[in-house]
């Protein structure tokens, strides 16, 4: 196969339920699949995969755009990558202070010994906050997804 031949770049569309879609062109896209990170290059096979909470990176040359998404699904077909997710934010739009506060809140909730804590919910909130922080620059704690 002619791997060196550059196909048409990828078109990425990220649709969140209550936000106008982001549309980006890229040469390489990495996605937070529920079963592990994966990358999409031009000419990728048709794929449908569920996504977890995490960061979508779209690279075009030296330029890289980063989005935080909250679960959902990705569809790759003929160099069109469609991401449907509950919430999506571009890295520039992230409010670091808010994410920082959310992380503290979730941390506190997980560490408190009371029975009333909804662990699954607090963990999900923590994951979202960490993804936001990771996307918007130096993460507050290393190892954030």
């Amino acid at each position: 196969m002619a791997e060196t031949k550059q196909s048409a770049p990828l078109a990425l569309e990220i649709c969140a339920i209550d936000r106008a879609p982001y549309r980006v062109e890229a040469a390489e896209i990495s996605l937070p699949g529920e079963q592990g990170l994966f990358s999409v290059l031009p000419g990728h096979a048709a794929l449908v995969a569920t996504l977890g909470v995490g960061v979508v990176k779209a690279r075009a040359g030296a330029e890289e755009r980063i989005f935080v998404i909250n679960g959902g699904i990705a569809r790759v077909l003929e160099n069109q990558v469609l991401v449907l997710t509950r919430t999506a934010e571009s890295a520039e739009d992230i409010d670091r202070d808010r994410a920082e506060a959310a992380k503290k809140r979730a941390d506190g909730r997980l560490n408190s010994q009371r029975d009333k804590v909804d662990v699954a919910r607090a963990e999900a909130a923590l994951r979202r906050a960490m993804a936001r922080l990771a996307a918007s620059g130096n993460p507050a704690s290393p190892g954030g997804s």
């Binding site: 569309e13 649709c15 969140a16 339920i17 209550d18 936000r19 106008a20 879609p21 699949g33 529920e34 079963q35 096979a45 048709a46 794929l47 449908v48 995969a49 569920t50 959902g72 699904i73 569809r75 077909l77 469609l82 449907l84 509950r86």
Partner: protein, 284 residues
């Protein structure tokens, strides 16, 4: 002879009504713009979601999926989306009339349960039909995505449990600021209209196609409900703006008519007085 003061009072009262309708029109126009923007944001997600579901259903065996098979029994859930506030022309009454028509014609003889969103629809249908299955009031004021799920989820659970055989939704689709189209959509059992090119593509699924389609079917219901409620919000404001616009114009016509009448009566009175004075002078 109609008295002058009475006419003057009526003009003043119509004018103040006109002031109110004009202000309401302005408010509705501003709200319409916001609702329209929100609707335009939600449509791509809902449309993509529908397209994806429709295409992927072809990749699984649909016979036994709880959201795809037709339920048993004759019970039907009918979701009706009206508005919480009035003064929006025929918006709510057309919904109620269509609901009654559906009950007496299309769903005749079937056991229909009504789930109504919006105070106006709830009031009118409760008067006409007695008890409703569920009513949702005030969800438009503080609307979030979870408002949509709170409306649709109980209905879906009932369907999955086999208590209802079909789920329909009656709502206004937003066409433009001055036109809305009443639309009856069947939500469940879900039936893809056209499968598109996704049905033929050979996909890698992660995890299995069944799991993905199951998750998508639910997400799609949420997305469609979210869109439907946004369509309704925009339609309501459009209807209100149009209604208030025509009310303002009617008030202007009434004022013009009354002013003409007022002047005529005033002139008549003056003429009469002049005639009286002249004839009085002649008599001397």
């Amino acid at each position: 002879m109609p008295n002058l003061q009475g006419i003057r009072r009526r003009i003043a009262s119509v004018k103040s009504t006109q002031k109110i309708t004009r202000a309401m029109k302005m408010v509705a126009a501003a709200k319409l713009r916001r609702a329209q923007e929100a609707l335009i944001k939600t449509r791509p997600y809902a449309y993509h979601m529908r397209e994806l579901v429709n295409g992927l259903i072809a990749h699984i065996d649909p016979t036994d999926h709880p959201l795809l098979r037709k339920g048993t029994g004759d019970k039907v859930s009918l979701l009706i989306v009206s508005s919480d506030r009035g003064l929006c022309g025929g918006y709510n009454s057309s919904i109620v009339i269509e609901t009654m028509r559906l009950l007496h014609e299309d769903f005749k003889g079937r056991n229909v349960e009504l789930i109504v969103v919006g105070k106006k629809g709830v009031d009118a249908l409760r008067r006409r039909r007695g008890k409703l299955k569920a009513s949702h009031l005030g969800i438009f004021d503080r609307y979030t995505v979870s408002s949509a799920t709170s409306v649709i989820d109980p209905v879906v659970e009932e369907f999955v449990a086999g208590q209802t055989s079909e789920v329909y939704c009656l709502y206004n689709e937003f066409k433009s600021a001055i036109s809305q189209k009443l639309k009856l959509e069947r939500l469940l059992p879900y039936e893809p209209e056209d499968t598109g090119k996704l049905a033929d593509a050979y996909f890698i699924f992660e995890p299995s196609a069944e799991e993905i389609v199951s998750a998508l079917l639910r997400d799609n219901l949420h997305a469609q409900m979210h869109r439907i409620l946004h369509e309704a919000m925009a339609s309501e404001q459009g209807a209100r703006m149009a209604a208030m616009d025509s009310a303002t114009n009617n008030a202007r016509d009434v004022i013009a008519k009354l002013t003409l009448k007022y002047n005529r009566v005033r002139q008549d009175a003056i003429t009469k007085e002049v005639v009286e004075i002249v004839s009085g002078a002649e008599a001397l």
